[in-house]
């Protein structure tokens, strides 16, 4: 059954003529820069489908589904090692986690009975886990396995080590209780890091390499068949310990990295569902009677970063403000990403902001609006003589943003050179460089964070991450970097909120980076796929079984 609002508003928008095409034309001839007019930009709430229960549960239990992912998996199914979102989409169905994200992006107990007891100034967390949970091989899931899942990334120096290197010690109290001690209070711990996937210590350490190609968890699905680089098949775990039991008897993961080819697959009925509907194909997919389009907010933000090193015109905050006022991010999103993204005003994603009591109205007012006169005034007064900045962008849809900014600057009499290149090459010349102003003064990059502001602010703005995760070299006010660390190393959420309010406020005011848009998670499913809901945490998709949805196939 379709959601009440499914597509209706979108189609009304098209009928009234405020279509993406019309806006594209407006954008090309200059746009009006009216940020209040967000016509044509998709609203994920309109694609919030209602629950859909089968009439015949026995028939539903025979459901099978093929899901086509939008990028190739690295085929790292061991969560201790994997930092590949597409492998983790498979792994999330195999493993249970200590806590799991709900649709509001808040952690809820899963293997843990409840939230932990917190002691020792927010550095000691005492967990109790459910008794009697079994891994797929019949071994019981105990506190030892939870401890191993926390410690293994650090001990084995995997790419996930930084998520748990603040752990000082773990004491296993008994089979169902453990005590985790941190070296210092770590702010994001409660909102993010304690949601660890639990692996079976004995089975995994027996042969780590073999475990990756025959992984064992305690989750709702068990490993069934696998061909490297081709497909993964999972079967329902009929002995699953938690409710609900999945309706899907089998799920098969394939991938198709070519956008048009992937869309062709769902249109031809060669797959049951695809991840990531390209912006340009959204209307066609949404208009098909036998296909459902899905979209949900995600914790991603795309930014324009400004080089703040001495010698760069953009080292001057007024020059940065001038550039920010020279174009409209809303117009850009309406023109190029109206079905895939939404404009943002903060360096943290909207979904993150909803979890915190931030002064969003104040920040929205402070965000530089489209004002070419003010832009020209600021640049005329502050830009260096013969200023000719370089804007580096990856050679994907983000290049159009760089071109848009250059076009707007040209309209007010300033030349900007846009250089587009492969994304990795761009990172090498910006983020991993020393930030020579002759090389670049602006670049664009995206970041997927999480529910905690630290997941954006530390990597993208703290000075320790220069030449590792950032290439803007922003010095900031006296407290700027200290506040980021202080907020990171305290467990007092009210204090953290206050510190982050200052940090984000300064970023919006001083513009070392200009947040532009957040890109949504999207999916398309055949009409026969029922009760599918897109989760904000990308690794959870396809989210086929939870308390809020249980996917089944209607063959009638």
């Amino acid at each position: 059954m379709r959601g009440n609002n499914k597509g209706a508003t979108r189609r009304r928008v098209l009928v009234t003529g405020v279509s993406a095409g019309a806006l594209a034309l407006a954008g090309c001839i200059g746009g009006n820069g009216d940020d209040d007019d967000d016509g044509g930009i998709i609203d994920p709430d309109e694609y919030d489908y209602e629950r859909d229960e089968p009439d015949d549960e026995d028939a539903a239990m025979d459901s099978t589904m093929v899901y086509t992912q939008e990028l190739e998996r690295d085929d790292d199914f061991d969560p201790v090692v994997s930092n590949d979102a597409y492998s983790m989409q498979v792994a999330e169905l195999l493993y249970d986690s200590l806590f799991e994200f709900d649709y509001e992006y808040e952690l809820q107990p899963k293997v843990a009975v409840d939230f932990p007891d917190v002691e020792r100034d927010d550095t000691r967390f005492i967990y109790e886990i459910h008794d009697g949970i079994e891994f797929h091989n019949g071994d019981e899931l105990t506190a030892d396995d939870v401890a191993h899942s926390f410690l293994a990334p650090v001990e084995e120096e995997t790419p996930n080590a930084t998520s748990y290197d603040m752990i000082e010690d773990i004491e296993v109290i008994d089979d169902t209780q453990l005590q985790v001690d941190l070296e210092y209070p770590y702010g994001p711990w409660e909102m993010f890091n304690q949601g660890v996937n639990i692996v079976p210590e004995d089975a995994r350490t027996d042969d780590v390499d073999a475990f990756n190609t025959d992984p064992i968890g305690s989750g709702p699905f068990v490993w069934s068949d696998y061909q490297m680089g081709e497909y993964v098949e999972l079967e329902r775990n009929d002995d699953y310990w938690d409710d609900p039991l999945p309706y899907l008897a089998e799920i098969r993961f394939e991938d198709n990295v070519d956008d048009s080819s992937r869309v062709g697959e769902i249109l031809a009925g060669d797959t049951d569902a695809i991840g990531d509907v390209p912006n340009a194909d959204w209307d066609e997919i949404d208009g098909e009677d036998d296909i459902n389009a899905h979209v949900a907010e995600s914790p991603s933000v795309a930014y324009i970063f400004f080089n703040c090193n001495d010698g760069a015109g953009t080292a001057n905050a007024d020059v940065r403000r001038g550039i920010a006022h020279a174009f409209s991010a809303t117009d850009y999103v309406e023109t190029y990403l109206n079905n895939a993204a939404a404009p943002v005003v903060t360096p943290t994603s909207p979904i993150t902001n909803e979890l915190w009591d931030f002064p969003l109205d104040e920040w929205e007012d402070a965000y530089p609006d489209y004002d070419p006169d003010l832009a020209q005034e600021l640049l005329d007064e502050n830009a260096p003589d013969d200023w000719n900045p370089t804007f580096m962008a990856p050679d994907d849809e983000r290049a159009t943003l760089a071109e848009r900014v250059a076009q707007r600057l040209d309209e007010i009499g300033y030349d900007m050179e846009v250089q587009t290149m492969a994304f990795d090459q761009m990172l090498d010349q910006t983020i991993y460089s020393e930030g020579d102003p002759d090389d670049y003064e602006l670049y664009i990059s995206g970041w997927t964070g999480g529910p905690d502001p630290d997941q954006y602010l530390y990597s993208n703005f703290h000075e320790s991450q220069e030449e590792i995760n950032q290439g803007h070299h922003y010095e900031g006010s006296d407290d700027f970097h200290d506040n980021i660390i202080e907020a990171r190393e305290t467990g007092d959420q009210a204090e953290r909120e206050e510190l982050y309010t200052d940090v984000i406020g300064e970023i919006i005011e001083e513009v070392p980076a200009l947040p532009i848009f957040t890109e949504h998670n999207s999916m398309a499913t055949g009409e026969h796929i029922k009760d599918m809901h897109v989760h904000p945490q990308m690794q959870y998709n396809p989210h086929v079984v939870s308390g809020d949805g249980n996917v089944w196939v209607d063959d009638d």
């Binding site: 099978t64 930092n83 120096e157 080590a161 081709e230 394939e254 062709g264 060669d270 990172l427």
Partner: protein
Amino acid sequence: MGLLRYTLYRFVQAIPVLFGITIITFALANLAPGDPVQIMLQGQEVDEDLIQTMEERYGLDEPVHERYISYMTGVLQGDLGQSFHYNQPVSDLIMSRLGPTLLLVLSAYAFAIVTSIPLGILAAKRRNEPADHVSRIVALLGVSTPSFWIGIMLIIIFAVQLGWFPSTGLVYPWWSPEAYGYTGWPGPLEQLPVVGAMFSQYTLGGWPEHVFQIVRHLLLPMIALGTLQMATLMRIERTQMIESLQGEYVKLARAYGVSERTILRKHAFRTAQLPIITIIGLNLSTALGGAVLVEYVFNINGMGRLFIDAIHNLDYQLIMGVTLIFGTIFIIGVIITDISYAYVDPRVTYGGDD
């Protein structure tokens, strides 16, 4: 020189060529901007220690020339190294991806040869008649249309609009039917174009169904990749056949009253094939290049996609491995072409005295 000695001689000649390929590829890959460890850790919160640990783990902290020497030492021992990105032996990755690419390329060649030679002969026989004009237009379109665009058009028409063929993927002959059984194809005969509805009550199952699905999945990518080869070969076949049919020995055969059919088959056809063999051998590189794009459009996990991914991830070992294999395939193709000459043209020898 005998055939065996000649073949061995050509393979020995190929060794310095392959050696040169490794030097050039290794240098280009390492000169490319980017850092494989940073690419691997993208999106992660990273510290310097972790970067250093990973560089040491993959030997990236050593100078380039030392890495090359240790890489070549491994190659000479049959070890193509470990992929950074996939964390798998390069040889395993190549073995898993080589089959689909060879299946695609060889089937495209088969399609090209089977269609181009009869059409080329027909065009030569019907020179300056409507059939010849049609073949010329077909050849012009085939040569000037990119294979990926042909692929997209085939998908739109025959998969999305008509639903006769699958839009993506291959079914591999070397996999058991059970590997595909999960998708639960409805009675496959029902999927036959046009007449499928008449067979809705029949199912194949097992190996017959497997063979049916292999052909059904292969048809569109095969045509997409083979069209360029077909067009090229057809025009060359036509030209060569016209030249052969005007030869003195053909005129003599006609004077002796040899039938036109025999002249065509025994006298003209065979001598016209030498340039065809040359083009087939030399076009192997074009076919492998085209396969990269066709694999993307049809979502086929072959060597082309593997190579693109290796470049994106600066996976040095994988770039080297795929380049070596492509180079070897091309060299083998050229050698086979040279050897084939003798079968077609008795005037060709392998040099030296036997």
